[in-house]
């Protein structure tokens, strides 16, 4: 493989698989919240 092809391959892998790793990391940092959104009766009325 030529150096330019290798470079493009590495950039492709880094951007796309890196993007995947980053988005998975972001999701893992915010675990699923089992609580449901508050119903209307629980909303802060003072606003």
């Amino acid at each position: 493989m030529t150096p330019v092809a290798i470079t493009m391959m590495i950039i492709a892998m880094l951007t796309v698989w890196g993007g995947l790793a980053l988005s998975m990391w972001n999701l893992a940092r915010h675990p699923e919240d089992e609580d449901e959104l508050p119903g209307p009766e629980e909303m802060p009325h003072e606003l």
């Binding site: 493989m1 030529t2 330019v4 092809a5 290798i6 493009m8 391959m9 950039i11 492709a12 892998m13 951007t15 796309v16 698989w17 993007g19 995947l20 980053l22 988005s23 998975m24 972001n26 999701l27 940092r29 915010h30 699923e32 919240d33 609580d35 449901e36 959104l37 508050p38 119903g39 209307p40 909303m43 802060p44 606003l47």
Partner: protein
């Protein structure tokens, strides 16, 4: 959550809407839907033809500026209005219901031919072991296997080697669909998707050890920078991303309607989008490493052996399987991957149709699935395992993609952004529970850049398909099964919208009413906070 009870009598309380039991299962199912045949057989060739390594730039731009924003749009509609495509669009605005039905009918057309390709791949998984094609893969596929007629038309001369695998595909799909969102769709994806990834990774590793693999990768990744000045390369990138992510034809709207109320929509969407693209890069490496081997073995340059679609899967790959060391393993991995990738996508396509009728007519899960999927399976089994099946598949695929999905997406984004001015409301919904917040940029992209890109592609397609007969088929054939079919989808969508919603339908669902009231109130609260801040 279980599916709705069957045969419980008329006075039973309405069954609560099914939900994915966890975010992980939703993400797996959404990736299973997005990763389809196109990732394996379309992306590598599209990238190679449109600048090789340089294609990465328009590809990433299209992913970030059209694919992901459109994916979020679908998520916001499905999750905010908690319904199948017709119900969600109806709740968005009464007049928007036909857009939902248009998407349902698009899925119907795709489903009837998609099953045929999965069936071919299943048979080729076995043929890889026996090397049934001998030394003429092309002649075997069109002649011996499909027994393809010379002239495109409508024949009812059935080919048993296609009919019975197709029947098996439909039985598997219907069993999964009957089981419902959690017991069927989630479980199938939780099994098939990891299996697909494992098989494909092994395939890529095996391909990389073939003679000439580096020649193939060199051809695939060498950038042709001048391609970036060509508008058609950018259109190819936008077009590919658009079709690859399964956006704008109801799937993501339907799946996101099964999410729990408090879900990180954009965070989950980013994982789905990048996983889909990640698989495409993997497919590009695997496919071009194998094509490099084919080029070296045949003594031909890569551009003479490179192909995409049916030609790559059923002509080039069998040739590679015949010549490569451990070729049978390579073949089983490749065609097995096509089967699993296809099945998870077929399930999601069928779910759009089943959910739509379930919502509109208030049927139980089991009844809706059987009443809807059995006739679809019958139509599919009458039209495609015949000697003219491949021609019908070719035309219906080309026209439903361009004048179904593309045209419907264009109409949907224009109606949502300009017609109903709904983007601020949907943006607010996305931002309420998501970790990655959408700003004004999202509205500009969805309401401005996306319609321009889709409009450009649609005009190009209308010009190219009007100037000459598609694939050289007779005018009546393309007229009926291409243009006629695409037009019939629009007429059918309007007619289905005119059918009144059943008393038992999900239109007046107490669960949604409560959700809607809470969402509207939160919207008011958000607006008040904004006003106070300003």
């Amino acid at each position: 959550m279980t599916t709705s009870p069957v045969g419980g009598g008329g006075k039973a309380a309405p069954a609560p809407r099914e939900t994915f039991s966890s975010r992980k299962l939703f993400i797996l199912s959404a990736i299973g839907s997005a990763v389809g045949l196109g990732n394996i057989w379309r992306f590598p060739y599209v990238a190679y033809e449109n600048g090789g390594g340089a294609f990465l730039i328009p590809y990433l731009v299209a992913l970030l500026c059209a694919g992901i924003p459109l994916l979020f749009l679908d998520y916001s509609i499905g999750h905010r209005f908690r319904g199948s495509a017709p119900l969600s669009y109806r709740r968005l605005h009464r007049a928007a219901e036909p857009i939902g039905w248009w998407q349902v009918l698009i899925c119907f057309v795709i489903a009837i031919y998609y099953a045929a390709i999965i069936a071919w791949a299943a048979m080729y998984t076995w043929f890889s072991v026996t090397k049934a094609w001998g030394d003429d893969a092309e002649g075997f596929f069109f002649g011996d296997y499909l027994q393809s007629a010379d002239q495109a038309g409508l024949s009812f001369e059935f080919v048993s080697n296609v009919f019975f695998p197709m029947l098996a595909v439909w039985v598997v799909a219907i069993v999964i669909m009957v089981a419902g969102v959690n017991k069927g769709i989630s479980r199938a994806n939780a099994v098939f998707l990891p299996l697909l990834v494992i098989m494909f990774v092994i395939l890529v590793v095996q391909s990389l050890f073939l003679d000439g693999a580096m020649v193939g990768l060199n051809a695939f990744f060498t950038p042709e920078w001048s391609a970036l000045q060509n508008p058609s390369v950018w259109a190819a990138a936008f077009g590919h991303i658009f079709f690859s992510l399964s956006v704008a034809f109801g799937i993501m709207v339907t799946y996101s309607s099964y999410l729990k109320r408090k879900t990180d929509l954009t965070g989950s969407g980013m994982v789905v989008a990048f996983a889909n693209s990640g698989f495409e890069i993997l497919a590009g490496i695997g496919v071009f490493a194998a094509l490099g081997f084919m080029s070296v073995t045949a003594g031909k340059p890569v551009d003479e052996v490179a192909s995409g679609g049916i030609g790559l899967a059923f002509v080039a790959f069998p040739t590679i399987v015949s010549e490569a060391p451990f070729g049978a393993v390579l073949g089983v991995l490749f065609f097995g991957s096509l089967v699993f990738a296809g099945l998870t996508s077929l399930i999601s396509i069928l779910e759009v149709i089943v959910a739509a009728f379930q919502d509109k007519l208030g049927w139980s899960r089991k009844s809706a699935t059987l009443i809807v999927t059995i006739p679809i399976a019958v139509i599919s089994l009458v039209l495609f395992p015949t000697t003219t099946g491949i021609h019908l598949l070719d035309t219906s695929d080309a026209f439903v993609n361009q004048f179904g999905i593309l045209a419907c997406a264009l109409v949907a984004v224009i109606v949502i952004s300009a017609g109903l001015s709904s983007l601020p409301r949907l943006q607010q919904h996305l931002n309420r529970t998501s970790t990655i917040k959408m700003g004004t940029g999202w509205r500009i992209v969805v309401g401005g850049i996306v319609p321009v890109a889709l409009g450009y592609m649609l005009i190009n397609e209308i010009q190219s398909k009007s100037s000459e007969q598609y694939s050289g088929y007779p005018a009546w054939f393309n007229g009926v099964f291409g243009w006629g079919m695409a037009g019939a989808l629009i007429v059918g969508a309007v007619l289905l919208s005119l059918i009144p919603w059943s008393e038992k339908s999900k239109l007046k669902d107490p669960e949604y009413e409560a959700f809607n009231a809470a969402a509207e109130l939160e919207g008011d609260v958000d607006n008040n906070i904004k006003e106070l801040k300003s």
